[in-house]
Amino acid sequence: MLRRKTGLRGLAIVAAALWPLPLLGQTAAQPQAPATATSGSNDTPAPPVESAPPPSSAASTQLPAGLPTTRRDYMREDNPWDTTVPSSRAGAGPLAESASSVAAEPETEVPTEPDAPAEESESPIRIYGFSDMTIRHLILPKDSPWFTYLPRNTTGHVGNLNVYFDTQMGPKWRALSEIRFTYLPDGAASTAVTDGLIERGTNQAGDYTEFSRATSVGGIIIERAYLQYMRFSWLSIKAGQWLTPYGVWNVDHGSPTVISVRSPFIIGAELFPRRQVGLLAEGTIDLGKDFELGYALGVSNGRTNDFSFYEDFDANKAVTLRSAMTWRGMGELTVGATAYKGRATRASEALYYAGTALKSRQQIEKQWDEVAYAIDLRWTWSHVHLQTEWIMNDRKYTDAGRTEAANGGLSPDRRLWGGYALLGYRTPWLGTMPYFKFEYSPEPQTQAIGIADKFVMYAGGLNIRPVPRVVFKVEYTQAYTPGQGSSLFAGQTIRGIDLQAAWAF
């Protein structure tokens, strides 16, 4: 009976949280799934085994009543490979109290919230992150048009250098920022094929400390920056910029965590916005020994990339909603569903006179309403890892915001959908995981210039983890674009081999 009541209470809470959605939905927003139950890969490079934290049961007994007793994925999502208890416990550094392998054993219980009084639960800023280096070799005819987008010669590059700044400011308060350092925009290729010439830009400046020699300057990308208040296990509120909590790998995006060399195309296609700025409520509800319900509800400005990170050009707020169920009866099985509704607007302002009075008006450059739905499944059982995400996005332009089409005329309303599935098996030999991945994905960027509509990709490889924080990957990929004429980009099958080293620090 007790468990039954818990389950009904959980349902009631979720229902109460969702009740206002239809009203909010009129304005557009996207909910984010609680990373808790849905995000987080078991293949996250885990911290050193030697520094495993105390048994969960022991840890949980130290927690004040009302605080969660299990490690929540929404914490792990923030730093999946770092299993440090985010509190002042023993004043440990990032490695000192790392769980042996949250990645390999997600059911490991680790407290995720402060377990000490406020003055003791404050922590100095913790800095950690991840990086990766990839060597790519493409097997294509030397005159393939794909070389306008892909490296012509075997090339090595540092792809990600992401650093986290994490502070526990009180028993229930936390601030997290994730910054990606990048070489961009220096040397970036133009993305528009207008006259058959793909030029590369430069971002150089005279270095006044070096005889004003020209020096290439990169940039940063703010992945997320938010303040988090963790009141209960079933209610945590983030304010700031957060990663949209849909599926598995949008939030859990660290290269040591992602099993394959790169994230699936469907993630990069941004059928859901990658990041949003606003408020996000999330949490988990324990439905019994083996069941857990996670949810997320977010209200934001809407899309950021290619629009604005710091201004909403329409009055419509985006709503994101996610729910996920986790069952730990046989390994860990998580099934999640996410929905997003919002309006995307890019606009400029113009001054004009009405008689002698100076006025202003908004000029819409592009604008559309959209809804997106996603389902995801992740099952880890023994050494088997199965993961899949499928996403659909409907876009309907407003009359003022319909954009010019690549083929002349105007862009039509559209429905895009796609997904991927990955199956792997972690062997005991150096933590090696052979895996196979299938992807079917639209590619909005190539669609916009009319050269390819969808991609079908097969990839197989090895994910080798000699030590918990270092991952090597070897992957062969074959991709083609169905339904296109052979004279276009799409007619050319892409084959390539990637070698990658990814590490967490």
């Binding site: 468990r3 389950g7 959980g10 690549a406 002349g408 105007l410 309303d413």
Partner: protein
Amino acid sequence: MKTRPNRRAGTRKLLGGVWALLGVVAAVTPYGCLYDETDRCGTSQTYDAELERCVCESGFGLVDRTCVPCREHEVGTLSGCDCAEGFARPSEGAACQKAETLGKACASDTECKDPKYSVCHLEGAAGYCTSACETSEDCDRTLNYACDYFGAVGVCERPPTGEGHACATSADCAGFEADYCEAFREKKCLRQGCKQNPSICHGDWVCCDISVLGTSLCIPPDALESGACPGGGTLIPRGE
């Protein structure tokens, strides 16, 4: 025996979870779908499935990403509203009128009453009223007239129909005299097939045989690059 109650409890939990998920689905349902496969375009627009785009309905022209109704004697294009055959604008932006002056159909100079356009320029049996010229600067540039000074007397020639219209593929230029879409640079309709008869290029336009495109095109003289055809093309001299 002990396992049965446990199983029942597990089943209850599972059902509770399923109901919770169903609750979420029910809450999400009002989001619905925005995409209507039968209605993918905006007001006064139709869907062009072949090129996957929206174009204006008949009688509407595309202006600033909006389909606006064309006025009398106008036809809609991707560049707005043009005058219908046999009609012309007396000045830029003016309403299309039956060509009584420039462009008026004629068989001899006597039919061209307007002293400004007193020359009847014959193309075969048909002709149109226009003016004499020495350079294209003497011609009505707003309507893309250009001076054909290769003859004994220079005359302002009208452009081929469709010339300069915005296009993405040659399908957008179909039915016009300028029926080739130059889709790489200007994305405009041009007249093709001048290699055998360069004089079909109006005014002082020149003929370039551009083998990479597999055709010859009439292009304005200012499109030549240091006197040479773009794209490695060959300049075809006029026979006159």
